[in-house]
Amino acid sequence: MYPIQSPRHLTRRQLLQWSGLSGMGLLLGGCGATLFSDRLNQVVEPLNQTVEELLLRPDSPVPEFPISAIEPDKLLINTFDVTPQIDPTTFRLTLNGEVNYPMQLSMAELQTMPLTSMVIRHVCVEGWAAIVQWGGVRLRDLATLVQPKPGVRYVYFESADGYYESWDLASSLHPQTLMVYQKNGEPLSVDNGAPIRLASPIKLGYKQSKWVTRIFFTNHLLSQKGYWEDRGYEWFAGL
């Protein structure tokens, strides 16, 4: 789900440090100057993001696959650090930020809300993809409960392992953007993000945080946009 951590012979931290030394970046990775590709990205990414925002159809669902198309072995497990163990009986999902009714919901409460199931293609930035069934609560239903204030434009997701992500509001309220606790007809496993994680067909895998503990609504993007985004990956990452 998350992109690879580093090129093969360097750790990512080394790479970032080295490419930060001016000139050194040019020597890295064939003709691949990380420093320069970051610059390039600063120029082109706004254009690509504008196109992606124009393409986004916030209310129309992406066509789904039949149950028979599910590919159970294809969903690889990627984690940037540790796999947190969370007791689902004491777990609370916090929803706050610029909302009228901040709240904390237990798994039992989340499971009484309408269940949405979808069979979609999960696309990883690394290049692989898997057709997966996810079952859970629509994020837009949760938003209806807490009522974001008028100026809200972004939604942040904090995870128990320290991972963090931010999404544009329109993508977050898409009818297939779910907080899921089921995968392929079974309760979500710890490796896949139990007790609850994000899932959606309209964004790359690294946007779909596992082990989500807090969702907060905000008017502005913070300087920290997301774990992989802050290391150079694109923020919108729309499909």
Binding site: G30, G32, V43, E126, W128, G232
Partner: protein, 202 residues
């Protein structure tokens, strides 16, 4: 080289001239294609199409971007140059009817099948090869878009069946383009010697 009568135009006396637009297209296409391949191979290495993470990886000298994020930045920046260049050229050859004069035609096919003039045959082969690469370039764009925006362009992705098929088809455009470059250069040399090559690059 004037297209309608290639044998005449290849005489020493006539200096081959290429339209400025054709030369510009050729340069931009060449450079952007090299960058699309190098950044594509960088993306490939994150999770090889053949064999997954355990599969064979391309050596670093062929790569552009330094790591997956950098490779993607290059790929999705250069795609604009590559695709818009091809589009403008497409409009140009359609509007000027260059499409009918400068690309493979039924007379070339005839020359290949029953012709006896070896020069004419070589020229027909040359036209056939450079015409045939155009659908391959369009296929690279179509499969690229199908993987870049599979939710939005679900119908396009759906045409190729599985995701793996889509990746293989997109990737196969690389060896085809590389092979084409070799054959195309050799044929151009045979048809018009170095003067023809120079006419396209200067």
């Amino acid at each position: 080289m004037s297209a309608s009568e290639p044998s005449k135009s290849l005489k020493r006396s006539s200096i081959p001239g290429q339209a400025v637009l054709a030369k510009t297209f050729h340069w931009v296409n060449l450079i952007s294609l090299v960058m699309m391949i190098a950044s594509g191979l960088q993306i490939y290495n994150a999770n090889p199409v053949f064999g997954g993470r355990a599969g064979w990886h391309f050596p670093k000298v062929l790569l552009l971007g330094g790591w997956l994020a950098g490779g993607r930045h290059w790929h999705f920046a250069m795609m604009w140059f590559f695709a818009i260049n091809l589009l403008v050229y497409g409009l140009y050859i359609a509007l000027t009817r260059r499409w009918q004069r400068r690309f493979v035609s039924s007379s070339d096919i005839q020359a290949l099948q029953v012709g006896r003039n070896p020069k004419r045959k070589m020229y027909a082969r040359h036209r056939l090869v450079y015409t045939a690469i155009i659908p391959v370039l369009l296929l690279a764009i179509a499969t690229g878009l199908a993987m870049y925006k599979p939710a939005h362009l679900y119908w396009l992705s759906g045409l190729f069946g599985s995701w793996q098929t889509l990746r293989i088809v997109h990737f196969m455009t690389v060896p085809i383009v590389v092979l084409f470059t070799v054959v195309h250069s050799l044929l151009a040399l045979k048809v018009g010697r170095f003067r023809l090559i120079k006419s396209m690059f200067s």
